[in-house]
Amino acid sequence: MREKLILTLGSLGTVLMLWVIYTVFLGLPAEILQGDIYRIIFIHVPAAITAYCLYGVAVIASVGFLIKRNFVMDSLAVSCVEVAQVFTLVNLVTGSIWGRIIWGIWWTWDLRLTSQLMCFLLYLGYLLLRPAVSDPTQRGVMSAILAIFAAADIPLVVMAIRLKNVRTQHPQPVLETGGLDPSFVAPFVVSMVALMLIGTALVLIRLHQESSRREIDSLRRELHAV
């Protein structure tokens, strides 16, 4: 049942993504100012939104683990953080490539890119901490606390970067104009849905791996106890 669910989610997401790519490449005209590169927004922004949703779920699962000490919550937290890291990396790389074309530089310390990088680094620490703790309960508690601290830091990061840009008056590269052209909305929304489906499928796979790992741990304990 579970495998069927993963397969359905994954294939549905992939099919939707293929539709998006087809529409984006062939169905939409080239924009005057930016040329073809603007099409990358259809992966860049939905990846960021999916990543934020997954981080949110991870933080909620972490709080749930601290309250209930249910290891499924801990597994959910780590699975969501891992998949969110992948999508954040996609966002950073596509954003960097886009920036190279539009602004001529591979990187700039503007609000969006920097806050995404900080998100990535904070939760990378989370993923680095987990293998370093041997006891499962301790590992769950420490990672949960780290996840909560990291999530609390993100709004402060946004405020700090805004302060820095205002004070030194860096030119703020504006990535999005006000509204979105109606013909863009459909591929954008479908792309978001597709990436969320793919993300959910990956989280479910990772969850299954975590439960297998717990089974391995309990079998090992049983063997050593004999």
Binding site: L66, L129, A132, V133, M142, F149, L156, A160, K164
Partner: protein, 148 residues
């Protein structure tokens, strides 16, 4: 017999009180170091710190408290972890970036002769917000760490 009294009294204190005590001790230590290095840096780097000493002191106090509370919380988290000397900075530095950025921006403003009001008050808000949020989080969550 009499020498056991302080230890017994310490054992029955709530966890967060011990934690705050440790954080405050580190805070005092850091403040002493900073107050000593401020004149030294002022001399060697030719920084005009005397004119804006009190706003600078305010920034120093707020930022140092932020560093101490986050550092103490993370040191409690990494106390039993492999490679703990490496884990603590790896985990702590990304977290401190907004605090350090805000403090640096405001110090730059002060050194340029501007005041802390107006356009620069955003930095003070960030420092206060950081201190408030992380003190609250650390004190609340420390029970979960110390129970283990």
């Amino acid at each position: 017999m009499g020498s056991r009294e302080p230890m017994n009294r310490l054992r029955f204190q709530p966890g967060w009180a011990i934690f705050l005590g440790k954080a405050f001790a580190s805070f005092l230590l850091l403040m002493i170091v900073e107050l000593i290095s401020l004149p030294v840096f002022g001399v060697f780097y030719n920084v005009p710190w005397v004119d804006s000493f009190f706003p600078l002191l305010l920034i120093m106090v707020l930022a140092t408290w932020g560093i101490t509370i986050a550092g103490s919380a993370f040191s409690a988290v990494t106390v039993n972890v492999r490679l703990r000397e490496l884990m603590l900075p790896v985990l702590l530095y990304p977290l401190l970036i907004p605090l350090l950025t805000a403090a640096m921006e405001m110090t730059t403003a002060l050194m340029n002769g501007e005041s802390l009001g107006g356009a620069n008050s955003g930095g003070l808000r960030i420092l206060t917000a950081f201190d408030a949020i992380f003190t609250a989080l650390a004190v609340y969550l420390i029970e979960y760490i110390l129970v283990l």
